[in-house]
Symmetry: C2
Subunit: 231 residues, 2 copies
DNA sequence: ACAATAGTGTCTATGAGACATTATTGC
DNA sequence: GCAATAATGTCTCATAGACACTATTGT
C-alpha cells in the first residue's frame, strides 16, 4: 500500500424538486476556472476522515440550508473518466436528493449563486465537467423509482393531497394521469399513504383529504408508467 | 486544486454465475495482510490514467480469463467508510458481473486462489473488508434486475432453452416457478428471447427449442417475483 | 345555480396463476 | 408401452384504464 496512484474524491449532488409544475434541479454558477461562469451541480471534496454519505449530506445542508431528515438522499453512481476534470485525477461520487418545494429555499446559503433550474432548460446550457451525464442519470433514476417505490412523497411536504402527489408523477414523468384511477391506485396500495384526518381549506372546489407518507418502502403493485416502448 | 486529501481508488467485483442450481460468487483467498487467508471479492487499484469501467473490465478478464462481450458488467456502488481499509483511505467502486457457467473457468488465471463459492455458504466465512455488504448489495441488485430486465440471459450461454432460463430465475430468486406459465410469459414478452430454430439433442424427453437473447433492454410486462411482502 | 375540484362506482381488456392436455423424445 | 420433458390451451381472479356519476366547496 506504500505506493498507489493518488486521486481526489468529490461528491456531486443532483438535487431535484417539483415547483410550478416543472421538475427543477439545483445548480450553482461556477466562479472560478475551469468552466468559469458555467452552471454545475453542487458538490465538493470529501474530507480525509469523512464517509461518502456524510459528505453528501453535509453538502446538501450547506447548499439548501435545510437539515437532514427532509426528503430523500441516495447514492447515484461514480464517475472517473481520467479526463473529466482538467485539473487532475478526480473521481466523483454522485448522490441523488429529492426534496419538497422549499418555502425558504436556496437564498442565504454558502453557495455563490445557487438556483433552481427547470430540467427541460438545462439541455441548452451545457453543464460543467460531465455533469450533463450525471444529471441525466439522476433524472432517469428518479423517474424509474417513482414506479416501484413511494419516493414521490419525498417531493411533497409532510402532509399533502392526492392531487399534489399526482402532479409530482405527472411532472416527473411528463405525462397526464387520470385523477380518478390515480386516486384509487394510491389509496389502495398498502402502506403508500396514510390519511391524516383533516382536509384542505380555502381552495376552489371540494376540500381534499390530507395524507402523509406510509411505512412501505416498495410499492406492491407498482405504479406503472403509461407505456414507454420496451426495447 | 493544489491541495486536496489524497485517496486510493480501487474496483471490486461481484461476479455471479449459476452452476449446479446454486448462485455462486467468484472469491479469492487473500495471501497478504490485512485479512490474510480470508475470502475477498476480486479487485485491485485503478490506474492513474484508467477509467473506472475499464479497470473493472480489466480485472474481470484477469480473474476469469474470458474476454469482454460475454455476460454483463455494470457499476454497483461506491464504498468509502474511512475505516473500511486499515491501510489507509481507500474508496472502492464496486461492479456487478453476471456470467454464464464457464466451461474453462477460473483455473489458470492470475488470481492466487480464485474459486466459485455458493452465495448461501458465504454468510459463515466473513469476507475481508466490507465485502459482505458489497456482496449482499450485488445479490439484491441481481434479484431485482431479473424482474424488469432480460439480464437472466447473461447467466446463460449464447443459445439456451426456456427451461435453462427458468432454472436461472429459480436459483437466483430461490423460488419455484410453474414451467408452463413461465414458458408462456417468456415467449410472449416482446424482445426477451428469439428462437434459434434448432433444438436440443440427446436429453430425456421431448427436445427443447433453443433461443438467444432478444433486443429488449427492459421487460414489458416485467417478470414479477411470487410476492415478497410490501413493507 | 354554476363552476370547480374531490372522490366513488362500473365496465372491459389484459395479464397472472392454477392446472388439464397434447407432443416428442429415450428406454 | 412408459417415463420424462416440452409446449399449448383453458379457466378464474386481480388489476389497469376508460369514463359515468355523486359529493362538497366558492362565487
Amino acid at each position: 500500500m506504500a505506493e498507489y496512484p493518488p486521486f481526489a474524491v468529490t461528491v456531486d449532488l443532483v438535487v431535484l424538486t417539483v415547483r410550478a409544475d416543472e421538475l427543477c434541479v439545483l445548480l450553482v454558477r461556477r466562479g472560478v476556472p475551469p468552466y468559469q461562469g458555467r452552471w454545475a451541480l453542487p458538490g465538493g471534496f470529501v474530507g480525509i476522515d469523512e464517509d461518502l454519505s456524510d459528505a453528501a449530506a453535509r453538502e446538501l445542508t450547506e447548499e439548501t440550508g435545510i437539515p437532514e431528515p427532509v426528503g430523500h438522499l441516495e447514492q447515484l453512481g461514480s464517475y472517473g473518466d481520467p479526463k473529466r476534470d482538467p485539473r487532475g485525477r478526480v473521481v466523483t461520487v454522485a448522490y441523488l436528493a429529492l426534496l419538497p418545494d422549499l418555502p425558504s429555499p436556496v437564498a442565504g446559503t454558502d453557495a455563490a449563486a445557487a438556483d433552481w433550474v427547470p430540467v427541460s432548460r438545462v439541455a441548452d446550457a451545457h453543464l460543467a465537467f460531465d455533469h450533463d451525464v450525471i444529471l441525466a442519470a439522476g433524472v432517469e433514476r428518479a423517474r424509474a423509482k417513482l414506479e416501484y417505490t413511494p419516493l414521490a412523497t419525498a417531493f411533497c411536504p409532510a402532509e399533502f393531497t392526492i392531487a399534489r402527489l399526482r402532479t409530482v408523477y405527472e411532472t416527473v414523468w411528463g405525462t397526464r394521469l387520470d385523477p380518478r384511477n390515480f386516486h384509487r391506485k394510491v389509496t389502495t396500495t398498502p402502506g403508500f399513504v396514510e390519511p391524516v384526518g383533516r382536509t384542505t381549506e380555502g381552495d376552489r372546489g371540494r376540500p381534499a383529504q390530507l395524507y402523509r407518507r406510509g411505512p412501505a418502502r416498495l410499492l406492491h403493485p407498482p405504479m406503472l408508467r403509461p407505456a414507454a416502448g420496451g426495447g
